[in-house]
């Protein structure tokens, strides 16, 4: 459970330089913050995903879906500038696992050029639903009850 931090590890603008350097170093060690909001889990993907991190994220999400009776998981990819087939597979994997648990999985904030590229590559993101933004995803998840 403690593999990932619950609170977002945002560093404010006003924090000291040393702290910031430390924070960057910590982030190099890789963590993806998971935020709980209105019975849903929100994950904003801002670091480069790799196998181990993806597995940790998936495990932490599933654990929380079970213990906190979560109704949906929202993956915010608005910071992700490039989604290739590897990242697609990771997102699909997370979506599938979350669905097996009985919760829904939404992806929000996909950039237009990224969406167009995915279409052209012919990759399928079939295990995650999409919503235009976070508000829309939360609305859909609330209606789902």
């Amino acid at each position: 459970m403690n593999m990932l931090k619950v609170q977002p590890v945002q560093v404010g603008r006003a924090t000291g330089r040393e702290e910031r350097a430390q924070a960057m170093k910590r982030k190099d060690e890789q963590q993806v913050p998971i935020i709980q909001i209105r019975g849903c889990l929100l994950v904003s993907i801002q670091t480069e995903l790799h196998d181990r991190l993806a597995l940790e994220l998936k495990t932490a999400l599933m654990e929380r879906v079970r213990t906190l009776s979560i109704r949906g998981v929202i993956l915010d990819v608005s910071w992700v500038e490039v989604i290739d087939s590897y990242i697609t597979r990771i997102l699909n994997d997370i979506g599938k696992s979350v669905r097996f648990m009985g919760a829904a999985c939404y992806m929000v904030g996909i950039r237009p050029a990224v969406a167009m590229t995915l279409v052209e590559m012919g990759v399928e993101l079939d295990a995650v639903s999409t919503a235009l933004n976070l508000d829309a995803a939360l609305e859909k998840l609330e209606l789902r009850q």
């Binding site: 982030k27 500038e81 290739d84 590229t117």
Partner: protein, 233 residues
């Protein structure tokens, strides 16, 4: 210690993603981590030029404000050093549209992100559209991943050419890995092959994104993928 990474990082936070920030700093080489007071006037100019093009590229809406803030941060660092900071190599500038050839070593997972960014900036520099540039970055990402996952190490070359009517960007990914057996290669392009890491799709995806595609692979010898993006001039 105040470095470009800490000072500029604080400015760019919230405007440019962490992934991109790190790649930008990596492009600056030793200069990103050198104490600000060790940078010469020339270093600072190089850094400023590099930051300007990156900010325009990745935060177009706020570029003026961010560029000014970066310039202030560099100016506030005190008088420049007379000699270059040790281990601070000059980076290749981003300006101009002249033909260029770049060779990127792909040795670990972190090189995937740098290669992607390098290809993206190159695509923008030579005037490919925003969408085409994302396609270039995606293709390079796939190719670099294949190298890291299957061959361990390799290189990605970017060759940009301005021709009479079009702009060409050629990407060559080469490795001395185990190569791909003919039967497996057929299966990959027939869409029936799935590797453990789900990457059988990577090559097919690249093929669909690019204007020209060629692969030369020999079991035991390595693989060379060459592809071309074109843009109208």
């Amino acid at each position: 210690m105040r470095t470009v990474e800490t000072e500029v990082g604080a400015i760019l936070e919230g405007a440019i993603s962490e992934i991109t920030q790190r790649s930008i700093f990596r492009r600056l080489g030793g200069m990103a981590r050198a104490p600000l007071q060790h940078l010469t006037t020339q270093d600072r100019q190089t850094i400023q030029a590099e930051l300007e093009s990156s900010v325009r590229l990745f935060a177009p809406g706020r570029s003026a404000e961010l560029i000014a803030a970066c310039a202030r941060a560099l100016a506030l660092a005190g008088p420049p050093a007379a000699t270059r900071a040790p281990g601070a190599p000059l980076t290749a500038g981003l300006s101009g549209t002249a033909d260029a050839d770049k060779r990127l070593a792909i040795e670990s997972e972190k090189d995937i992100a740098s290669a992607r960014l390098e290809a993206w900036s190159e695509a923008v520099r030579i005037g490919l559209s925003k969408f085409a540039s994302v396609k270039v970055a995606t293709a390079v990402s796939e190719l670099a991943r294949n190298i890291v996952f299957y061959a361990g190490t390799g290189t990605i070359e970017l060759h940009s050419r301005q021709e009479a009517r079009e702009t060409r960007l050629e990407i060559v990914a080469a490795d001395q890995g185990t190569g791909i057996e003919p039967a497996k290669l057929d299966a990959i392009f027939a869409g029936t092959y799935r590797s453990e890491r789900g990457l059988g799709k990577g090559l097919v995806a690249v093929q669909k994104l690019v204007d020209e595609f060629a692969i030369d692979t020999r079991p035991g010898r390595g693989t060379r993928v060459s592809c071309v993006f074109r843009g109208a001039r």
